[in-house]
């Protein structure tokens, strides 16, 4: 079963976006949720030296990623010394097959899952479900999208695209009872339902926010406490960790964890910080018998050493999604892959290749809002630009290439520019009505289908200047 390239990535962004745009309420729902987070983020950093913090966080990430293999080896060595099993998965298939084998060995029938984007990336749940295992998402947002049979649409808030009413309807339909669209009632209800899962699960699967190389520990941030339950109650804990999710020591962690939480939620602290040092020791009363860490490469190491290396600095806070005006309109599902918004538009083509996702770097107006908020200063919009260049080089789009060549041939000289302007003015006559063009032939129809177009002026500025 090939998991990595999401089938949806094969479709064009434009087609997926148009599907999302038909959901007229979507920008309102997403806008409300993301604006709140962004406003809180601004508030919390207003009191702090944000430029200094960003510089420091960037430096930590840059150093760690530049020395990734050293720190990964140290992490694995220290984690194993404490009894954790570390598995390096080169591909999604390897990662999935490791977990399936483990589940089979344990005879697992129920798996409790905490939020993990890496597990979404490798399509872990569908593979386990195909083996006849029940997999239950225990993060409320993830649980909602699981019931809706949808992928998460935001890194931090998986169900950000769903209204309260939709959520109430989903839960009610699934559990065969009526529920009000009151968030508190719904949360309390989900808590009841999920409690059984924590207690009965044979395996708990989680993501990892940071792996600490110095100690081999896993750091996990959650708001609902489900992460702690998933990693401590079931007899086996499996953590799926993107290979770049490493920090050298707790000292760097003390900077990155608050940066992550504040950038993601706008709160000073998360409700739960969990630090997992390994399986239960002989003198301990609780904790899992086995802890496994699956370190996932899946295309990441080939980004190392390229001009895109800094995309691996990402700490998955989702702040770039919260401010992205394109994401606001189309939501995470428009991007056709697990990572939506600016981070996805950069990362997905690098992970799955230009053939499948070469149009994602164009899913941006290059407004730069993402670069402005990124807590580790990834120049996201500049990477989008560089990717557009690399995609054009690799794919050599014929029509577009010829068009730009013709354009640059004419416009590199003022006489060519003036000639084109005169031709446009002569040709536009039949399309201009009341001083504007309402309907133009292709490719300009892509503009005029929705917007009026101004005609070339009767006298351009340079013609007017001549007559001054």
């Amino acid at each position: 079963m090939a998991m990595t390239p999401d089938a949806a990535v094969r479709k064009r962004f434009e087609d997926r976006a148009d599907v999302q745009l038909r959901k007229r309420h979507l920008p309102l729902i997403i806008g409300r949720a993301t604006d709140t987070r962004e406003a809180r983020r601004r508030d919390i950093f207003a009191e702090l030296d944000l430029p200094g913090l960003r510089n420091a966080a960037e430096a930590v990430r840059a150093h760690t990623v530049a020395n990734l293999h050293t720190y990964l080896d140290r992490f694995a060595e220290r984690a194993e010394a404490r009894g954790t099993k570390v598995f390096f998965a080169a591909t999604a298939e390897e990662a999935v097959s490791y977990v399936r084998t483990l589940a089979a060995k344990r005879g697992a029938r129920l798996i409790a899952k905490a939020k993990s984007m890496a597990s979404e990336e490798i399509h872990l749940s569908p593979a386990l479900e195909a083996d006849g295992i029940e997999v239950v998402e225990t993060d409320l947002g993830e649980y909602i999208v699981q019931l809706a049979k949808e992928p998460p649409s935001h890194i931090i808030a998986p169900a950000v695209h769903k209204s309260r009413t939709e959520i109430a309807r989903l839960l009610a339909a699934h559990h065969g009872r009526s529920l009000p669209d009151d968030p508190e009632v719904l949360t309390a209800f989900a808590r009841e339902v999920l409690r059984r899962t924590f207690l009965e699960a044979d395996i708990g699967i989680s993501g990892v926010n940071f792996g600490v190389a110095e100690t081999g520990s896993l750091a996990l941030v959650t708001n609902e406490g489900n992460g702690r339950m998933v990693t401590s109650l079931p007899p086996v804990h499996v953590a799926i960790m993107g290979m770049e999710r490493i920090v050298p020591s707790f000292e760097e962690l003390s900077l990155l964890l608050p940066m992550l939480v504040a950038s993601a939620t706008g709160r000073p602290v998360s409700t739960y910080f969990s630090f997992i040092n390994g399986p239960r020791l002989p003198d301990e009363v609780d904790g899992p018998e086995e802890v496994h860490v699956v370190v996932l490469d899946n295309g990441r190491s080939k980004i190392l050493g390229t001009e895109y290396q800094s995309i691996l600095h990402c700490i998955r806070c989702g702040a770039c999604q919260n401010v992205c005006p394109v994401y606001r309109q189309v939501g995470g599902h428009g991007y056709g892959a697990v990572y939506g918004g600016p981070i996805g538009a950069v990362l997905t083509p690098l992970l799955v290749g230009f053939e499948k996702a070469g149009d994602l770097p164009h899913a941006s107006s290059l407004c730069g809002a993402c670069t402005e908020v990124c807590p580790v200063k990834i120049p996201l919009h500049e990477q989008l630009l560089a990717l557009r260049r690399d995609v054009a080089r690799e794919q050599k789009p014929v029509v577009e290439g010829l068009a730009f060549r013709a354009w640059s041939t004419a416009w590199r000289r003022p006489w060519g520019y003036r000639l084109l302007a005169r031709l446009a003015r002569a040709g536009q006559g039949m399309f201009v009505r009341g001083g504007r063009i309402r309907k133009a032939p292709p490719p300009l129809s892509r503009w005029t289908n929705r917007r009026d177009l101004p005609p070339v002026a009767r006298r351009t500025f340079r013609e007017r200047w001549k007559d001054r």
Binding site: E14, L21, S364, F404, P455, F461
Partner: protein
Amino acid sequence: MPPRRASLFVTCLVDLLYPEVGEASVALLEDLGVEVDFPEAQTCCGQPAFNSGFEEDARRVASGLLDAMESAEAVVSPSGSCTAMVRSHYVHLFHGTKDERRAEALAAKTFELTEFVVDVLGVDHLPGRWEGRVTYHDSCHGLRELGLTGQGRGLLAGIEGLELVEMARPEMCCGFGGTFSVRLPEVATAMADDKIAQSEETGADVIVSGDSGCLMHLAGRLSRTRSRLRPMHVATLLARARGLAPASR
């Protein structure tokens, strides 16, 4: 001493589609005692090709601008986006070519219009009179690549009769994005509608911006949806308020 001479980089959009914005820019500068010239060899900054990934074509056109502005003392443009292209991206675009030095030189002397007036000429108050409610759209490249926040607003604040009303998210992109607006027209339009709805909520008569690209996109949508909101370039509004330009085309 601020420069007394400036070369206008009018931009292709203003030259071809909105010449009155170029005239307003010249009028404003001349009124402030700046001697303005227009190097006629200029065409375009090359941004459409650059943003589409066609760097060689961008360079071909951009090198024309390097030639045209070679002897300019200062270059002033009524566009945050085209100024940002020159200032933030030329160095990268010409990196490792024979024109690298010339690109750096042009980047160092190129300014957006309101930036030039406020930060270079040191004029932060322009008396004038214009009746109406205005909301200001921060065009992205001016805002984030040039760091322009208060220059345009500050100049408008000096105009008598003008009431500046802020929309909820003035810094949010309007959806133009150059070739983005034709590559993903439906997304771009949805973004414009978002911006227009925010602007209309303020009760403003006019949405002002320092970039004709944003304004072309918004204007195209405003007239298609028969909105009463009018788009206007900040240069046009300032020139009119100061009696330097005709009240309408």
